[in-house]
Point group: C2
Chain length 354, copies 2
Amino acid sequence: MANIRDVAQHAGVSVSTVSNVLNGRTDQMRKETLKRIEDAMAALGYSPNRAAQQLKTGQARMIGLLVPSIVNPSFAALAREVDLAAGSRQFRVLLGNTYRKESEESAFIEDMFAHGVRGIIVAASDMEKPHFRQAARKGMIMINYDSRMSADSGGALPRFDTISMDNEAAGRMAVQHLLDRGCRSPVFVTEATPTVGRGCKVGGFLAALREAGIDVEGRIIEGKARSAYGDTEMSELGQALAAQVIESGVRPDSIVAINDALAIGLMGGLRRAGVAIPRDMSLVGIDNILLAGLVTPGLTSVMPPLREMAELMIDRLITRIDDPRCPPQEQLFAPQLIVRESVRVPEGENGANI
Amino acid sequence: MANIRDVAQHAGVSVSTVSNVLNGRTDQMRKETLKRIEDAMAALGYSPNRAAQQLKTGQARMIGLLVPSIVNPSFAALAREVDLAAGSRQFRVLLGNTYRKESEESAFIEDMFAHGVRGIIVAASDMEKPHFRQAARKGMIMINYDSRMSADSGGALPRFDTISMDNEAAGRMAVQHLLDRGCRSPVFVTEATPTVGRGCKVGGFLAALREAGIDVEGRIIEGKARSAYGDTEMSELGQALAAQVIESGVRPDSIVAINDALAIGLMGGLRRAGVAIPRDMSLVGIDNILLAGLVTPGLTSVMPPLREMAELMIDRLITRIDDPRCPPQEQLFAPQLIVRESVRVPEGENGANI
DNA sequence: TTGAAAGCGTTACCAC
DNA sequence: GTGGTAACGCTTTCAA
């Protein structure tokens, strides 16, 4: 592979001049020189050696993306948008799966330092763990996606950027859609492990019910998954919880599920029990995974605006890498409702415009 | 961050000695020296700078993984296994999505060269395209996963390693399972765009039928998807093709679908038409995406042994990076059948041991 | 407007 | 057994 010296020689200039071109310092340069250099680059098929640039500048044009598991469709969707947003800024994405193991998290962070990566997007992990704090102290810029961090920063400045869907609004939006479509007895079905995100969703759900004058007693149905994070387990849990929904004292006519995998499990369990969706029971999920559009009936779901979120994350990451003193921010994104077929349309109404 | 000189100083030795430790040349070394160096590393929290190593050795301890889209669950599953296999060899994975655009493919390859990456796993792309050939000429080691490359290498040595599920066996295995369970009139449903993989699957399907003495006429049902590669489109196609299956002159009692997304679309379409699975129609998919286990009834599917395949890919990649003259190989992996609930169990039989 | 040269952290060759 | 040192390809300061 050609290097900067070859280019300089080919163009009859010095290495520094070529470097100036590479770094956009062409304003003071004779047009003709510029052209000669550009031609030389093209002729030699030159592309600068990132390792060398990195060694010199300490900047890798790579960002890390740490997710629990790329197999989880929500994180796959995130990864795609992050890749897209990073690509538009000429950054590449180094992918890490934690499999929910701290050792993997630490190893990833170590590796990112070693590779000269200066910024990481961390999805759905508790950022208060020591290895994250330590990484932050050592200068790693980290952005927290879909935070599991404690909600109140206690007045102190947050240590990390936090980007998340407004979970409270998501819970609210899901149940409001049910109410708008004439449902009168919604329940909220969730995995039992408490997290901040879950708490907010439940909070939104309950608030909307109260505002509608509905008694909230007994409307949270939960169960413990074998493993709290796999979609398969989540879906199995849904199957199991279907029975609890049917037997619930509040005689539910509709369900908000904490996520789509759980919702799809519920669909299966309800179907087996002879409960038809949406005829006998309406259902809204949260996340809008790809799968939601593939099952029958299509699952109505509340979705985070992933593209915008990814773009802001990349933006913040690059900004803070360039200026490490730029203070972290927290930002909440309004969710969107994706209407499919799992919610009953009231008689004589056209569901499309509700 | 501490560097190799700091460690040397701290341990009272020279940088070369530290470098020797880093590179495992400790056999001739006094135990005590080794210990001092190791202690110094630990004390300083030293980790070697990959960029510098890379600049020196031309070796990045990163591999590229190029997939059409990480959102497609088959590729997400692949990515996970590749990450795992790479991690066990201390390699990180740089992810690229092509979105089926040649420009993205070229840009990714360029970037990999620039980042000092010497090996790439390319999933489901035609490797005969000029930019891949050129990359190979420039010394990039590439492994082709689930090849769309022309089947016969015309006697010449292949240019790339090719790792793929044995598609012919997969087609055969799927239909054999149906026959074993007493189905007598299977059809094969597929997207119409011809690829090598599809051809093999169809071939296996037809061969097994012929061996069973079943007339193959009219047993291939195909339709063109709006876009041949998205799972959503694939699933929509399945919905649409359900009608053709029902109306088919061969009066099918069972279906092999070219992939799970299509199969899941078929499930929806058939259900709407009042055809119950597996009571009225049995169904086998190919790929075994996560989703297959989540839908109701669970979709029986034929699956590539991803873990082993990923391990072999990483293995071959590293071997060939270390010795570029090592000739490329082609390797086929036997598929496995994952039995769920979408195939009818004959009366009086226990499907579990078929 | 362009060039010379130092140095980023590591490796590996050759001395001792 | 261990140490000195010249590269690897680039950026950037300073000088011309």
